[in-house]
């Protein structure tokens, strides 16, 4: 176990280093930010001065070495657009993204598992079929378009919910949260549902497949033969055994929810780090792009590491050396 953890740790650090190099080299290629930052009437000397001040006049390997040295001490450079440390910008926006992602995951779980159980227990009923058809749509529907249509219906036509922004926030332990106020909830609901759609469908299908498989197992037949009630058979014997794949998927999908929140945040003007990333790409704000990508890579490495460990703990049958099969 210790060897496994150490090996995975080494791999994670390797991934981080490689990614930082790729990200840095790639971002360097996307264009000269100086020309965008200063006005069109700037003289050649002004341009050179700005370039020198930002350290952009040095050769690329030197810039990377500097960057790495500073990155290790937590300094990922200053945003060109905001003139504040890039990492600070990202960390400021992070709670909003996490709040959105957690809300989306919560909605997906709250609806997905019961619906999946239902569809698994009664696969040929009308409700079962409807749930499955719905989940196919959940997979097929382009998320961003659904988001727009939600705005059209609930904000423009019905006027029930605001079309964007975060609403009133309350500060908890230094972090601003929307979920504690009614206005915050009204703002959070649509983006969260939009972001939840894909995972909701995934959970429905996973739960349904797991339930159908479990129902055929001897332990379920035995539990039934013992005369246990349906709710106990389903609630304890079936649910417990389908929880392992579900937990794994939730762990892995949390990363992709963070990734996809870029789209959702852009549609609903949710001030998270995904929106910041898109804005930074458009303004060629290199340090922010680099900082965002590195934060995301670290996040993913941590998530995958955690899921690997959790998987090994939850299911002793998994051979550690083999690793997991990504869905």
């Amino acid at each position: 176990m210790v060897r496994f953890i150490l090996r995975r740790l080494m791999q994670s650090i390797g991934v981080l280093l490689v990614m930082s190099l790729i990200v840095f080299a790639g971002v360097y290629e996307i264009g000269d930010p100086v020309l965008i930052m200063i006005g069109p009437d700037a003289t050649q000397a002004d341009i050179a001065a700005t370039r020198g001040a930002l350290g952009l006049d040095q050769p690329l390997p030197m810039q990377y070495a500097h960057f790495l040295k500073r990155a290790l001490s937590g300094d990922l450079g200053r945003s060109y657009a905001y003139s504040t440390p890039a990492i600070k910008l990202i960390l400021e926006r992070m709670p909003a993204t996490f709040e959105l992602a957690f809300a989306a995951m919560f909605i997906a779980l709250l609806l997905g598992i019961p619906l999946g159980l239902w569809a698994g227990l009664k696969p040929d009923s009308f409700a079962g079929r409807t749930i499955m058809t719905g989940s196919i749509f959940g997979f097929s529907l382009p998320t961003f378009w659904v988001g727009l249509m939600m705005i059209m219906l609930f904000s423009v036509h019905l006027g029930w919910l605001p079309s964007g922004g975060r609403g009133a926030t309350t500060e908890v332990l230094g972090v601003r949260l929307s979920i504690l106020t009614l206005d915050g909830w009204r703002h959070l609901l649509m983006p969260a549902v939009n972001l939840a759609l894909f995972n909701l469908s995934l959970l429905i299908r996973l739960t349904r497949a797991g339930t159908r498989e479990a129902l055929l197992q001897d332990y379920v037949k035995f539990a039934r033969a013992k005369g246990l009630s349906q709710s106990r058979v389903v609630g304890v014997h079936v649910l417990k055994n389908i929880l392992v794949p579900i937990v794994t998927v939730i762990g892995l999908e949390f990363g992709s929810v963070i990734g996809f929140s870029i789209v959702t945040e852009s549609i609903f003007a949710w001030p998270g780090m995904g929106k910041l990333m898109i804005d930074s790409i458009n303004t060629l704000d290199r340090p922010v792009i680099v900082a965002y990508l590195l934060v995301i890579v670290i996040l993913f490495v941590v998530i995958n590491f955690g899921v690997d460990l959790l998987y090994g703990i939850l299911d002793p049958r998994v051979r550690m050396s083999e690793g997991r099969e990504v869905l």
């Binding site: 990200v23 097929s140 727009l148 249509m149 705005i151 904000s155 423009v156 497949a209 870029i262 898109i278």
Partner: protein, 305 residues
């Protein structure tokens, strides 16, 4: 459909024949509907320049006075009815959607085919050779698949800058790993079978063993993955274009049409975003229905998820 049927026939699965294959496909009415819908969409996209009432790229035919007209409105010139309304530039939305369909489906197909060829080659070699090649490739695949495709594509496009060929490159980079993993898995199973051992024993060159004997027998799962991946490629392209990182404004795909409409959404002008989205949805649903049925026929052991 006919290429797939032919491909299915070529690989000679024991007693299967084209007719048997078609009948198996037709056993699901929903799948037949999907195939029909997909054929209609492809035909419409192919014939777009000849059947659309207007060339949406020809600025001379556009009339700014006609911008943002609701569906069913008459053109100010009187000759034309805008069945699905017009967009912000006075473009007939129906024409723009059919042209957009060409771009979307074209990008999806091209990137999927190239990724299929690339990923399959890498996966076959990895699975057949084993050893460090295999370890390296699989490590790379694992790392890549741990990141959501949207993020990977976004990073690439942030570096490469938006554009038609760059979005194809991004989609290929995102997709190859799926095929590499599938091909590698199939190759590992197949390369232990007698016919491969026999081919090796006959002293055939390795490339011949891989191309003539291994590849055809690894095809069924690859076809299934490819069929379903076209849909995700189209969705991903639409999403990227929506974010402004995809196709150029001169050749709008469905995603860009939706993005163009989104700025009028709050003013209640729904159709500019709505109808391209419906076209996109129909395309993706049709492809998924066909892909699901292909999976059921070609690969009954694959878990339905």
């Amino acid at each position: 459909m006919t290429e797939l049927a032919a491909a299915a026939n070529d690989v000679r699965w024991g007693d299967s024949s084209l007719w048997r294959w078609v009948r198996a496909y037709g056993s699901s009415r929903v799948a037949v509907f999907g195939a029909l819908l997909l054929s209609v969409i492809v035909v419409l996209a192919l014939l777009a320049p000849w059947i659309t009432p207007q060339n949406p790229y020809d600025l001379a035919t556009l009339d700014l006075l006609d911008s943002r007209l609701p569906p069913g409105a008459h053109a100010s010139s009187g000759h034309l009815v805008y069945w699905l309304g017009t967009d912000g530039q006075g473009r007939d939305l129906l024409s723009a959607i059919l042209y957009g369909l060409r771009v979307s489906v074209g990008i999806g197909l091209i990137s999927t085919l190239i990724a299929l060829a690339l990923g399959t080659s890498i996966g076959l070699v990895a699975g057949y050779r084993g050893g460090w090649v295999d370890a390296l490739v699989m490590r790379l695949v694992d790392i890549q698949l741990a990141f959501p495709s949207i993020l990977l594509a976004l990073i690439l496009l942030a570096f490469l800058r938006p554009g038609l060929s760059n979005i194809v490159i991004a989609l290929i980079t995102v997709q190859w790993a799926y095929y590499a993993r599938t091909a590698r898995g199939a190759a590992m199973v197949e390369s232990r079978r007698e016919y491969i051992l026999a081919a090796v024993g006959l002293g055939l060159a390795p490339w011949r063993v891989v191309l003539r004997h291994l590849l055809p027998n690894c095809l069924p799962p690859l076809i299934v993955v490819a069929a379903l991946q076209v849909a995700s490629a189209i969705t991903l392209e639409a999403t990227l274009s929506f974010l402004g990182l995809g196709v150029p404004v001169t050749e709008p795909s469905l995603g860009l049409l939706i993005a163009n409409g989104s700025q009028y959404l709050l003013a209640g002008t729904y159709w500019i975003s709505f109808f391209p989205g419906v076209a996109l949805l129909a395309t993706i649903v049709a492809i998924n229905l066909v892909g699901d049925q292909l999976r059921d026929i070609l690969n009954p052991h694959m878990q339905t998820l």
